[in-house]
Symmetry: C2
């Protein structure tokens, strides 16, 4: 099975590719997560099924999410942004990063089916792991200013006890 | 297209069916949402695709989630519960309610594909709608004590501007 270490590299490469080619923001990996001050944040999630199943998430503060959305839409100012634009941008980042991960894994895992993203707003957000799941995590700064974290939660399909058979 | 009002009834019937037959807890619909005191809560989400796409969510406080998990697992006391049991229970509720919704809609919509659930923990949690999405909401009390809310966010596929083509 694909080792967790390899998936962490796959996740990092995919995140970098999306931010360079689609968001036009510099991204550097950082050690350790930014302290969660309880500020309002957005969490975008996209699930996938196949012989490897799980979900990919991006979590960042409201201001970071707005900056990402403005960059993707080539807007000069955050004032022009509708609330929905920001939500859709975070969902679309999850979708694009997952697409890149799928492409990078396709020699090893050929049967991954990706669903559609969903976005949640809240404070002190964290992904919770189901039975048998492990996660690869990438913490990053964007444009030397914002913090965002990315997770790839996964397990071999059939590992959990869930009744999704 | 399926009217929002009809989907709200479909959601309520599905929630009732799952709680009666699988969780063994009484459930009553209530008007208006419980005030969000900022307590720690769990949000379970399951997405679906097809000519109708979106996600179904359940959101409830930590104690409510533990009670649901203990009931599903026929445990006498919450002390025996592992953290993962609670997470899996909330994901499984989303999965089962969505399965029931799909069955109820199958004469009208034949091509719904359901993904796997994901679970997020946090405070002040709320679903955020993507472009073109509307939601049907059911607020309920469980066992006359706990509050839980259920949402069915949906749109006709292709309605949004997202690049998930």
């Amino acid at each position: 099975m694909t080792a967790l270490l390899a998936l962490k590299d796959t996740l990092l490469d995919s995140v970098k590719e999306v931010f360079e080619s689609m968001v036009f923001m510099s991204l550097s990996e950082v050690e350790g997560q930014a302290p969660d001050a309880g500020d309002l944040a957005l969490l975008g999630t996209i699930t996938f099924t196949g012989s490897l199943e799980g979900c990919l998430t991006i979590c960042c503060g409201q201001r970071c999410a707005q900056t990402i959305a403005a960059n993707m839409l080539c807007m000069e100012s955050l004032d022009e942004l509708a609330d929905e634009d920001t939500v859709d941008a975070i969902g679309e980042i999850a979708n694009m990063v997952m697409g890149s991960v799928k492409t990078r894994l396709q020699d090893e895992i050929t049967d991954i089916t990706i669903s559609i993203p969903s976005v949640v707003q809240g404070r002190h957000l964290s992904n919770r792991l189901s039975e048998g799941m492990v996660q690869a995590v990438v913490n990053a700064t964007l444009a030397d200013e914002h913090h965002a974290s990315f997770s790839l939660l996964h397990r071999e399909s059939g590992t959990g006890s869930g009744g999704n058979g």
